[in-house]
């Protein structure tokens, strides 16, 4: 009955209640929206890269390997440095149209395309070519794609071998296999071919790293990649370097950067860490902004409750004369602010879920993640903030003696 009474008190001035609730609904939506984006990005990155050992050497100012160009003879210099184990040259480029589709233009269109459209776009769907120096790469202990091959039982085929040098054989991800399906809609399989640019390539293996960032890569032998992408012999994009002693990785990074100019060295696992660090900072910044919004929402609720209680002093006085204690009054007003918070939380969560569903219909290759825990935090958080915000008005209402409440109310 107490809760029903509290709800009715809120609904007596429904517009005021709605405005106060909206004040807290907005931060809830912002909080859920921000974390759904953040979780989506983390999901996009996956965890495979984070567990990989080894280093990558690329141009100093290149943000990613596809924009990096290094002289091929740098491999010799790298090999002379103490602690360097394996040095594998790599060529990275954005893939030409695949099966007649793709490329940058299609990526841009794809970002705007609705779900179900044929153009597979979105930044994470942009396919890239990696050409590997197989003689060296096959020695790597922590090779991302080789370690992520599907088992033969699952139709994974095999990774590239030395016998694939000069041959149009590729290893593709299950994601690419699905995004460029056969005419009957089934994903491409090992043994079939895939048209890249103007050339057909035989699919010899399928991998799945679990990261949407790496699962856009078509792996082939470096010579084949040079020919396909028009990359001269003297140029490579990056070098995959494996230290002789994995514990020596940090010292080796310093050593390479001291001895070679115009490059930067990064742990492969750091790609994830960098994104995580950026996301962490972004989340902190957004949390601060949301914190301010929450504060404003909380003050709005406190103000609403204060107005509501100050209008009802006589009512509280009458309740006290019938035997209600201070605690009963405190409980009633706190129940009202708690319900207001629950209302804000429910509104905020509903809006956020609806927004995520709508936005996910338009996004390609990237999904906003809104899990039940986030929804719970939004709901409980809003309720807790409103409850705390209502404590002062509740205390104000409860601290008056019945006589004061009746007199004070009479003055209003």
């Amino acid at each position: 009955m107490m809760w029903a009474f509290a709800w009715r008190n809120l609904m007596t001035r429904s517009m005021r209640t709605a405005l106060a609730a909206i004040g807290l609904t907005i931060p809830v939506v912002a909080f859920l929206g921000m974390f759904s984006v953040s979780r989506g990005i983390r999901e996009l990155m996956g965890s495979t890269l984070g567990s990989m050992q080894g280093l990558i050497v690329m141009s100093e100012n290149a943000p990613t390997p596809i924009f990096s160009d290094l002289p091929a003879d740098m491999a010799k210099s790298l090999r002379t440095l103490p602690g360097v184990g394996i040095v594998g040259a790599e060529v990275w480029r954005i893939a030409p149209p695949i099966e007649g589709r793709g490329g940058l233009a299609s990526t841009a269109i794809g970002m705007l395309a609705r779900s179900g459209a044929k153009g597979h776009g979105g930044l994470s769907s942009m396919v890239v070519i990696e050409g590997q120096d197989l003689a060296e790469h096959l020695k790597l202990k922590g090779a991302v794609f080789a370690m992520s091959m599907l088992s033969r039982e699952r139709g994974g085929g095999r990774f590239l071998e030395l016998g694939d040098v000069g041959k149009p054989n590729v290893v593709i991800s299950t994601k690419i296999a699905g995004e460029y399906p056969n005419s009957d809609g089934s994903p491409r399989r090992v043994g079939q071919s895939i048209r890249i640019g103007n050339q057909d390539f035989a699919i010899v293996g399928l991998y799945n790293t679990g990261s949407l960032v790496t699962d856009v890569t078509i792996v082939m032998e470096i010579g084949v990649a040079r020919k396909l992408m028009g990359v001269p012999e003297r140029t490579v994009s990056t070098f995959a370097v494996e230290p002789k002693d994995p514990k020596d990785a940090d010292a080796l990074i310093e050593r390479i950067e001291e001895n070679l100019r115009g490059i930067r060295v990064q742990k492969i696992s750091q790609f994830n860490l960098t994104v995580a660090a950026i996301m962490g900072k972004l989340e902190m910044f957004l949390l601060l902004a949301i914190g301010l919004a929450v504060l404003v929402g909380g003050v709005g609720i406190a103000n609403t409750m204060l107005m509501s209680t100050s209008e009802r002093y006589v009512e509280f006085g009458v309740m006290r004369t019938t035997g209600w204690s201070r605690w009963n009054i405190l409980a009633l007003v706190t129940a009202e602010s708690c319900l207001l918070g629950l209302l804000s939380g429910t509104l905020g969560v509903s809006l956020a879920v609806a927004l995520v569903l709508v936005v996910n219909r338009f996004l390609q290759g990237f999904v906003l993640e809104l899990d039940p825990m986030l929804v719970g935090i939004g709901l409980v958080g809003a309720t807790a903030i409103a409850t705390v915000s209502g404590l002062y008005p509740a205390w104000q209402a409860s601290k008056m003696t019945p006589m004061e409440a009746i007199r004070h109310g009479g003055e209003n």
Binding site: M1, T322, S325, P402, M403
Partner: protein, 235 residues
Amino acid sequence: MVDADPSKGSPMIEVIDVHKSFACGDETVEALRGVTFGLDRGACTFIVGPSGSGKSTLLYLIGALDRPSAGVIRVDGEDVAAMTEAEQDRYRRSKVGFVYQSFNLIANLTCLENVLLPRMPLGLTPSLKKQATDLLSRMGLRNRIDYRPNRLSGGQQQRVAIARALINDPVLILADEPTGNLDRAGGDEIINLLRERKSTLLIVTHDRRFLTPGDVVLEIEDGRIKDRAGVTASP
């Protein structure tokens, strides 16, 4: 000074040398200046006097809505002024029923819920709801139990307020100008309803037409009992 009749046992209400003063800006206003009287159980007492004489203040002190500046107030053997706040809450809930001039019903609650208001914090039971419904039926409001107060006439609202005052079966009913906002017929009806109760009745009023032989009349003026206008008073 009014004394209780010793033949009727211990008095229901004992008020001994009660003073009450309020701070009003820089001045101190003495609302009650040494009031002493006793009232028997079941007595119907009217407190009369001019505005500002201290009638309502006395009523609220007996109802433990406020504490006297000095003096002793005993109701049903309990020293009201010496009670803790929790004890006063319990006292108001279990022994006293208040009726006000302006009805003071809660607008968000139905008639039935208003009657049940004193019991709301303790939880409502079906038997309590039945008791409240019976009370409203006796007040002639059986077909209004789900109405909000704004749909009732003044007389009907005051009848709901009386039902609320009676829900805990109090030993003492305190009414502050209960007919002040009602017409003549409505006022008569309310006083008659109050008189039907076996509880001790203390009514503050300006209207002497309600006084009947057998009633106790306390006339207050300037914070003092001026006269026990008496048991034999007649309108």
